[in-house]
């Protein structure tokens, strides 16, 4: 176990380094001028001498390699730099927004797990029925629908037409403080859309897996022993079908990150994911680099956790080397 973690970490470090270098190269090649983005509408009325002085203060007039080395050195000493587009230290921007992203995505993951386990198992249990066809068909249709489209559809139906839920934001526009109930109401649509958009593959996977195990001898045995159908499905079939599921969950983290970016943007949710769009458009390298690093870490950690969980769940894999 320790060996696996050590191996992964040894692999992760050069990976993270390569990701930041690639990020930096892309930011350099971007046609957008960071100083223009910083100035916003004021770019047209700012003295060119001021523009040059800002460029010099940010070190943008230095050679590319030197800029990268400086940034990396600061990062190692814990200085994340200042976000140009937010006019604030990167650490503050992240600290303020990360909790909202974690709240939304963890709720979405929980909902997605519970929802797709139930739907997948139901479909497997009643394989071939109208219920199975509805769930399977729905899952395929959902998989082909882009996340942002689903989000806009949800806004149109539940916020514009029915008026049941707010269309976006974190709290009511007139609210002067954060009321947990108000936030919960604003949380519903983003969480449900994110969960639903990511759940198709999970539903289909659970269905296949449960159908497979239902044919296994131990399930047939349990049935022939006269156990209740519910016990057979939940305690025997589902449990053993869950094992490979963990690996897949870890491997799907990148999709979840992408989904979060789109959902947060459409619902004006003030999390870190939507921030990355703004950072990319304004070539806010200090912020974009940290966000990309965080995304990379999430993917690496997701895979590692999945592998570890798999080993804990299935003792046979423990002996196998990486």
């Amino acid at each position: 176990m320790i060996k696996l973690i050590a191996w992964r970490l040894a692999f992760a470090l050069p990976l993270l380094l390569a990701v930041t270098a690639a990020m930096f190269a892309l930011a350099q090649a971007s046609p957008f001028d960071p100083v223009r983005q910083y100035l916003g509408d004021r770019a047209m009325v700012t003295d060119p001498a001021v523009v040059e002085s800002i460029r010099a203060n940010w070190g943008l007039d230095r050679p590319v390699v030197e800029q990268y080395a400086t940034w990396l050195g600061n990062l190692l000493t814990g200085d994340l730099g200042d976000s140009h587009s937010f006019h604030r230290p990167v650490a503050e921007v992240i600290a303020e927004r990360l909790p909202w992203t974690l709240l939304a995505t963890s709720c979405a993951i929980a909902l997605m797990l519970v929802g797709s386990l139930i739907a997948g198992t139901l479909a497997a249990w009643r394989k071939g029925s109208w219920l199975d066809r509805l769930i399977t068909g729905g899952a395929f249709a959902n998989e082909s629908a882009p996340v942002f489209w689903l989000a806009l559809l949800a806004i149109y139906v539940f916020a514009v037409r029915l008026g049941w839920l707010p269309a976006g934001g974190l709290s009511d526009p007139a609210a002067t403080s954060l009321d947990p109930l108000d936030v919960a109401q604003h949380l519903v649509l983003p969480v449900v859309v994110l969960a639903v958009s990511q759940s198709s593959w999970l539903v289909l996977y659970v269905r296949e897996s449960v159908i497979g195990t239902l044919r296994e001898d131990f399930v047939v045995g349990a049935r022939s022993r006269g156990l209740r159908e519910r016990t057979v499905i939940v305690r025997h079939a589902l449990r053993s079908a869950l094992l490979p599921f963990l690996t897949i969950l870890g491997a799907r983290v990148p999709e979840l990150v992408t989904g979060a970016i789109l959902v947060e943007t459409v619902f004006s949710w003030p999390g870190v994911a939507s921030t990355s769009v703004q950072a990319a458009l304004s070539v806010d390298f200090p912020l974009l680099a940290i966000l990309t690093l965080m995304g990379t870490v999430a993917v690496v950690a997701g895979n590692l956790l999945a592998d570890l969980a798999y080993r804990v769940a299935d003792p046979r894999t423990r002996a196998v080397a990486v």
Partner: protein, 519 residues
């Protein structure tokens, strides 16, 4: 998914959001406006720090400057107790502060806070985008608790106009919790969502009647209009067409406020076609400004003939024209100058076709419509104008070669912008004078206007300046916009002024603290 595709997807998403929000939903999102006054704004603040350029021209609600502007644009003492005293050489300006003013956190205002604000703004390390506007200042120092002295590098008449800049306490403000002396104090800022303010009950100008203010950001015009109709917003800034539906609605009032905000065409002076005065004059005559105001602006605008709006006292009444095109006169001018109509309907002179490219920023639908309209007007007199929508980063390197639709305009002082746009020392410097206009006579007038302390001398200088710019058609000005605000409810004390090009919390809402319920 690649980044490009993701961005493309977002663009589609934004378009769809517009399409989705356009239908009239039967019900607003949960929760009404409550007791807070909610203003729907179309763009979010980049920051809330006056030294970084937040509301430097006043109207921030949270901060006060040494001076403030009355609705007629005259300057009145605000944190200063009286208008400033200038030394005879015009290089030293002294302000005395009002007594008993306190910041929102209870600290008393002193001259050191004023000196700190200006010194920080001018410090190159601050990276303030507006430091160029204050470059005439050599230093600002506190003589005693209530006396501030500005020392200037050269006489600079508009200095007093610049002192509407909000004053922050010495030592600076936490960007997450700004502190000022204004009628409203800061409560919270949810980035991407809103800024919440509450009344400053101990404001030296009297406590505001509206106790809670929310500045909500909704970038999409249709979203803002829908949320206003649903009662979520109490007021909003809207484009003229989106404001139409509120005109005959009970309970809402539409304000069309005059502005100095113009759209015009900047010509590259060193190019053969646009550098020819006859072409520019004929182009000016061919443009149908009235049609632009009536159709493109839905009536919310005025024809423009020069950089200074007729609503401002600095305007030269001789700078005017016919809002309708005069194609015969235009054709005559071109014929006389040797531009003869060719077989393809485009004029030519010595083998050179009378054609030029007109660039506009691709995302700006107003400038796009204006570009298309001028192109079709020009075609009628045999000029070929090719409109081309580009990103600003693509426009910038081409500005010396191709004409461009630009928008500027400040109602405050004629020195603002005009010096940078027309003085030869700014030739080819970024977005200032990109067409390489150089005229020693104009340079001289702009310098006189900037440095003279005599109002009559300044007035004459800017009157002559406007005449030359108009006669030489350095730019062809098209329209002045009117800014449209919709306000719900019955309020007294709403005093429209003349808006500038930018309008965040300024504009109609700059005097929010003195609004009173009508009944």
């Amino acid at each position: 998914m690649g980044l490009a595709r993701r961005l493309a997807a977002l663009t589609v998403a934004a378009t769809l959001a517009t399409a989705c929000s356009a239908p009239q939903g039967p019900a607003p999102a949960a929760g009404g406006a409550g007791d807070a006054f909610v203003i729907g704004l179309g763009s979010e603040f980049e920051n809330l720090s006056p030294v970084l350029g937040f509301a430097a021209d006043g109207g921030s609600l949270m901060f006060d400057g040494l001076m403030r502007r009355a609705p007629d644009l005259s300057l009145q003492p605000n944190l200063a107790s009286a208008p400033p005293a200038s030394s005879p050489d015009g290089k030293t300006v002294t302000f005395t502060l009002r007594e008993g003013v306190k910041f929102h956190d209870g600290r008393p205002l002193t001259a050191r806070d004023v000196a700190y604000t200006y010194t920080t703004l001018l410090d190159p390390k601050t990276n303030s985008p507006i430091s160029g506007d204050y470059s005439a200042i050599e230093q600002v120092s506190a003589k005693d608790d209530r006396t501030v002295e500005f020392t200037l590098k050269h006489p600079y008449a508009p200095l007093v106009q610049r002192t509407t800049l909000g004053i922050v306490p010495e030592g600076g403000i936490d960007p997450a919790k700004p502190v000022g002396t204004g009628p409203y104090s800061f409560v919270s800022w949810t980035p991407g969502d809103k800024v919440v303010l509450k009344a400053n009950e101990s404001y030296f100008g009297g406590a505001p009647a509206i106790k809670n203010v929310v500045l909500a950001f909704a970038l999409d015009d249709n979203v803002r209009s829908t949320r206003l109709a649903a009662g979520e917003f109490d007021a909003a800034i809207l484009p003229p067409k989106a404001a139409k539906r509120f005109e005959n609605t009970a309970g809402t009032k539409v304000y069309r406020v005059d502005s100095a905000d113009y759209r015009g065409i900047m010509f590259p002076m060193k190019e053969k076609v646009t550098g020819d005065l006859a072409v520019r004059k004929a182009f000016d005559l061919a443009v149908d400004r009235q049609a632009m105001v009536d159709t493109i602006l839905a009536g919310s605008g005025k024809p423009a003939f020069g950089p200074i709006s007729p609503d401002i006292s600095w305007h030269n009444p001789a700078v005017t024209g016919n809002p309708r095109p005069d194609r015969d006169q235009a054709a005559k001018l071109l014929d006389e100058a040797g531009w003869k109509l060719g077989e393809d309907g485009v004029r030519a002179k010595d083998g050179l076709r009378a054609a030029f490219t007109l660039m506009y920023p691709a995302g700006d639908s107003l400038r796009k419509e204006l570009a298309l309209a001028t192109a079709s007007d020009a075609k009628k007199i045999g000029l070929e104008v090719k409109p081309e929508g580009l990103d600003w980063d693509a426009i910038e390197p081409r500005m010396a070669k191709d004409a461009l639709i630009m928008g500027y305009g400040s109602p405050y002082d004629p020195d603002y912008l005009n010096y940078e746009l027309f003085h030869s020392s700014y030739q080819g410097k970024g977005f200032f004078n990109p067409g390489y206009y150089a005229n020693p006579e104009v340079d001289k007038l702009l310098e006189t206007g900037r440095e003279s302390a005599d109002e009559a001398v300044r007035k004459q200088a800017y009157t002559d300046f406007q005449k030359i710019i108009h006669d030489q058609q350095v730019w062809t000005y098209l329209v002045f916009l009117k800014h449209v605000y919709v306000v719900r409810g019955d309020w007294q004390g709403i005093t429209p002024s003349v808006d500038a090009h930018e309008h965040a919390t300024g504009g109609l809402f700059r005097d929010l603290a003195s609004w009173k319920p009508g009944k």
